[in-house]
Amino acid sequence: MRIRWATKDLLIKIVYYGPPLAGKTTNLQKLQELIPSSRRSDLVSLDTEGDRTLFFDLMEVSLGKIGGLTPRVSVYTVPGQPRYKRVREVVLRGADGIVFVADSAADRLRENLAIWYEMLNYMKAMRLCDSPVLLQMNKQDLPNSLRPSQMQGLFKRPGKEVPSIAAEAFQGKGVKETFSQILSLVVSGGRKS
């Protein structure tokens, strides 16, 4: 969290990380529906290849006013494709909290884990090890999806708990809870899990 003094904004940066097509953009689209337009910016999406995020999506959410400051949450997604590794790195920089959107389909597990460890490596290099990571197990509706109990133990962080939430983002299930919980984790300094 930082203060942008010019506007007295308390800035909180949340990044939705994960493999391509896991549902990161869908999360932001649903948040856009759930949050009145007076409290958020439009969702800026730069996608030029069908429904795949190229570069990133960005939305700013204003939480109201507290003690003369306006907490403002910048929500980003990263492009999941292997060739956009560098963009992921840049977007991740300075993240106060990360939502890892995993695709629960059993056949995507390996891909999920590869990008999970990439993220942990970046976090270590950027000294973001204190930032909380919330695992969102998305696409729980798929017939071949792994159950939460099967997934939870697989996404590990050295010395840290990994809190998790099951979701069906395209139905809006778990979207609000994910956003609220990552903010709570940021504010509580990750003590809660």
Partner: protein, 164 residues
């Protein structure tokens, strides 16, 4: 320009450092006839100078969008992230109506967009001077986290956030 409004919290000393840094960049912008100048730090924060407008501080990605440079984002980001510990990196991009020159000198980057292609040499010189002379730290303060938001307050704010 209303510096007081921009940096109302600053002590006199840091305020004058900022003024100096701001005017260095504004001078460069004028000398070059640039339409956009941007200074960004590696923590992802940027200050955007566009024409006569007041400089605006925002996230680097948002600033690139506001400067109409979204399409070049990947290129710019890659140049900026560079290799850890790498020295200065100068990059020139030719676009239909001018040039974009970027000097990355981690942890800071300066970027200028201008039309007159014959001024490339001048642009390089000015950017180099900014890297060495401009106290960009004073412009993009990475304030320590003296503030904190209580969880109770957050819960309260979140309750009011959603559409019914």
């Amino acid at each position: 320009m209303d510096y007081k409004n921009l940096f109302g919290h600053a002590t006199d000393n840091t305020a004058s450092k900022r003024e100096k840094a701001l005017s260095l960049i504004e001078d460069a912008l004028r000398d070059l006839g640039a339409s956009v100048m941007l200074v960004a730090s590696q923590n992802g924060e940027a200050l955007l100078f566009a024409g006569d407008e007041e400089p605006r501080q925002m996230g680097l990605l948002a600033a690139l969008g506001a400067a109409g440079l979204s399409a070049l984002q990947e290129v710019i980001m890659t140049a900026f992230s560079g290799v850890e510990g790498e020295e200065e990196q100068l990059m020139t991009l030719e676009v239909s109506d001018g040039l974009i020159v970027l000097l990355s000198s981690p942890p800071v980057m300066f970027l200028a967009v201008f039309r007159d292609k014959s001024r490339l040499g001048l642009a390089r010189l000015l950017l180099k001077r900014l890297v060495s002379k401009c106290d960009w730290d004073a412009l993009l303060p990475n304030e320590a986290d003296h503030v904190s938001l209580e969880e109770k307050q957050l819960q309260h704010l979140l309750e009011g956030l959603w559409e019914n």
